[in-house]
Symmetry: C2
């Protein structure tokens, strides 16, 4: 699909960047996976624009990995206009979303989303974030993940990492389970100001996903695991589904506004279990993970 033409260089720049980023990330994921490659689907939005959805399934490392680019122009819904406290008008939105569900329960799931929104009245902002969801906790992995985000944020504003880290903990929280989805990362929204500089920041975050995640995959891919660990991964993936379908604003917004269902729900894990009232035994590694999720901590 072609990008939406624009006189606004940020609008143009963001689209071009997100598309290139999708290419770069997919190439890196295919290289490390070594077995499967991405398939591609192009789709059109009912009003204007559309997306390029990429999916890799049943790889050597990734059971299900989706990396989606989209650029859409549409009238603002009344709901969204109210939430944004702006009059009804057209909105332009472009973004990239990725979720990687690895086969091995020793390799964490990762999610990243970056987006640029521009109203017809000129109001514009960036949003996005990245977070890590381990099934077994290796504290050095969480530390590495957070250190990458802190270094990127610190290049721009030393107040950003603490603020975005806190927003991430608050956002990716499963209220009805009283636990976090994972060990967090960064989350930001309505980031306004010098759009050129913000686009640079968002570009850094985009490439940061490789630096933050791929070394963890390399480190854990040969970690041994068996049926017990796979079972636990499937149960924890149930929490991921609960979060995405009950709380995730992006998911619910996408479904409400008739986005492409299969692209929005690419975030759902390939195989999930919901046994009744499952609780890990005391003193196990499974219990240790849950304890950490109930008490989000500082990692760097």
């Amino acid at each position: 699909m072609s990008i939406i033409d624009s006189h606004s260089h940020v609008k143009q720049g963001a689209q071009e960047h997100f598309k290139r980023l999708q290419d770069d990330i997919c190439r890196a994921v295919e290289t490390i996976d070594g077995k499967e490659t991405f398939t591609e689907d192009h789709w059109s939005h009912p009003t204007a624009g559309g997306g390029r959805a990429r999916m890799l399934q049943d790889g050597a490392i990734f059971e299900k990995a989706g990396v989606n680019f989209s650029a859409v122009a549409a009238p603002l819904s009344e709901n969204l206009a109210t939430r944004l406290s702006v009059p009804l008008q057209n909105i332009f939105a472009t973004g990239i979303s990725l979720v990687m569900h690895p086969c091995s329960p020793m390799v964490p799931t990762v999610h990243m989303n970056l987006r640029y929104l521009e109203l017809a009245d000129g109001n514009a902002w960036f949003g996005g974030g990245a977070d890590l969801t381990p099934y077994y906790l290796f504290p050095e992995d969480a530390q590495h993940f957070h250190a990458v985000w802190k270094a990127i944020c610190d290049k721009y504003d030393s107040s950003w990492y603490p603020r975005f880290k806190k927003s991430c903990d608050e956002y990716f929280f499963i209220s009805h389970r009283k636990e976090a989805r994972g060990v967090g990362g960064i989350f930001f929204d309505y980031l306004k100001g010098d759009l050129d500089q913000l686009l640079e920041f968002v570009q850094d975050v985009g490439h940061g996903i490789l630096e933050s995640y791929i070394p963890i995959v390399e480190r854990r891919r040969h970690e041994p695991w068996g049926e017990r660990e796979k079972e636990w991964q499937k149960i924890r993936r149930g929490r991921y589904v609960e979060f995405n379908l009950i709380y995730d604003r992006g998911t619910l917004f996408g479904l409400e506004t008739e986005g492409r269902t299969e692209s929005i729900l690419m975030s759902l894990p390939p195989e999930v279990k919901w046994p009744y009232d499952y609780r890990p035994e005391a003193g196990t590694r499974e219990e240790a993970l849950v304890t950490i999720l109930q008490h989000p901590r500082e990692w760097v």
Copy 2:
């Protein structure tokens, strides 16, 4: 758990009925399953009352079957008061909920919920319904299921079945998939009037679940199936999860009001798959099911 004492005989009667009904249904399910029995959990609500949760897992016929009774008194939340257009006050709610997920993809999943709500100001009503979710369509099963509900409704008011059938089709609709959750049944809410008569109706509906569902189980339990059919069942169960977590008012209301999470989410299937953009091949029985779900029809 003991029931909440009350001078209102309907309040008392509804609780007693729902508890007895839970006993009757569990006994019938255990008898037909023949392998596993229900475990029982008692829980207390933060304000007053609580529930008796019963779960059967890994049976010969049922992979996961939950039958829950609860009776709770609590202050109305602002949200709910607004939705009901009533002033803030205490609300009493008692009900029974069941969801049965069979092992065999040839046996449909069934759901039933019955509830009685009473406000401190005396305003009171019944709600509930039952619906069937097949993985493979046997039209005579859908016909039998609907015929039972029609007969029960017709005993009270001949306008009820058509009305409740339509409400069911509207309620159990997965908008983002543009398909129904299953072949429907009946659904009613805010049923007010002669409460004694309505309690009788609700009692009939409660026992109707055995008459409507057990013969279908008996009929389909020996139907052959293999890996392909099991796979399809797991994919379709994904739709069940999507409905319950995104749209089901009872689920979202329960989670918001800090009901017992494991009792509310007992409705989630034991094992689920989300392959990317899966579409059944043309001319298959899987495709035939989807076609029916996209075009709800009259069964009796």
